[in-house]
Symmetry: C2
Amino acid sequence: MIEAIPADVRSLQLFEGVADETVCNLLRAGYDQSFPPLVTLIQEGAPADFLHVVVEGMVELFAGTKDREATMAVVRPISTFILAASVRDAPYLMSARTLQRSRILMIPSVNLRAAMATDNRFARNVVLELAGCYRSMVRHTKNLKLRNTRERIASYMLRQSRLLGNVPGFILPVEKRILASYMGMTPENLSRALKSLAEDGCKIDGQRVIITDRPKLEALAGLSPLLDGPDPEASQAGVSLPLPATDARIA
Amino acid sequence: MIEAIPADVRSLQLFEGVADETVCNLLRAGYDQSFPPLVTLIQEGAPADFLHVVVEGMVELFAGTKDREATMAVVRPISTFILAASVRDAPYLMSARTLQRSRILMIPSVNLRAAMATDNRFARNVVLELAGCYRSMVRHTKNLKLRNTRERIASYMLRQSRLLGNVPGFILPVEKRILASYMGMTPENLSRALKSLAEDGCKIDGQRVIITDRPKLEALAGLSPLLDGPDPEASQAGVSLPLPATDARIA
DNA sequence: CCTTCCAATTGATGAAAGTCAAGTGTTGCT
DNA sequence: AGCAACACTTGACTTTCATCAATTGGAAGG
């Protein structure tokens, strides 16, 4: 059971404008646990008994078998994940594991559905959250279908930059192998493509990324700006690659 | 304005258990129009002023520019589409065009949001619908990332068969070029792969498909059955390839 | 009935991405 | 400090898939 409501949990979009009582009831029914890195929190196919909230740390959502596995998203505080399975009382479509030591809030799906029934504002917040998740996933799929390897990387870099306020440089928020899997390519290919991007306006040194020629990089990423365009929902969607921490910005 | 409520619209999951008054208000505010084939109903990037419901016909959701375009889904009666954009009042992420002569109900997003605010049951139905859409899109993405061309085709065939009650034969519900785009491959490649599948338990003759060796085909499709597994939400998700019409079954 | 259009097929070729293998570098642990 | 583990890189090679071009076939319309 959860003792105190973390202030940042209360400020989740999901709880915005929702009666304190509703929130308290939800949290009282839930659990607040810390996990070491690389712990599997959720197994694809299991019944969705809990909605999860990442309060601290970092969680990877992935799918597939051991020999073929794909990163679907990386969730960072404060965000929920697997909301859809919870509300539908359906089996998880993705597995989840901690990438770092993480603090996770687990709210029973039963209580979640009950709260939706008694609190209309909460129900509407769930609608907005889910719509955001859906749109993030649509973007991801479009990216996979409409862009090739180099274009996906270019657009990812531009997106990260934009989310930090169009900074020219930043630090990659996750290991490259995870980034590669997320973007649907092998680590080897990511490595090669990253090197080749130096000629197209994006230099990489280890985890450090510097956009040296934005127009050129944008031309490479191609397609409409819509694909990753002004993106109010992604920050709370719970299914996009993480916003880099503010300290990811490079001076 | 909509004169009479079509019975099958009233029976939409979205309206299940919802007060007649709510439904009437929604439909009264909406429009009921018929369109010839190949009419663009929605342009990617436009503001989402209306929720759309396909009452008759068939609608393709797609994305991308003219020279690079990907089919994201095909919507068949009775299903809604672009619900997520409507509830978020956000720009459409996909375009839509009719594939056949189609009858479309258009409900102003404003009224949709109002109905969610006044009718809790309706809000919860929207939650379920959106969660279904999201899960369909997750499945689609997993398919793209975890399976190669032949595996995607094999699993698609098995899925269609299962949705019809595990029939051995059926008719493809859409043109092959659309199927190819949906599955993320070129028509040429689909054609070649289809031919090669004859040796793996799936014969194709024009639009006719016959599964001759289910175990072998399942082995080829590989991966967990979960990926396309028992799939209660897809039929109403509005973002999956169509359920073949019941007459698609081959004796 | 014939023509026209376009989806579908087929073959030849090329480009993109995956695989395999070896090596480098960094991190963390003893 | 030294070792081990592992992420990352690099190169050579293979496979898969896309592209281009030509042809076939079937359906709609004059």
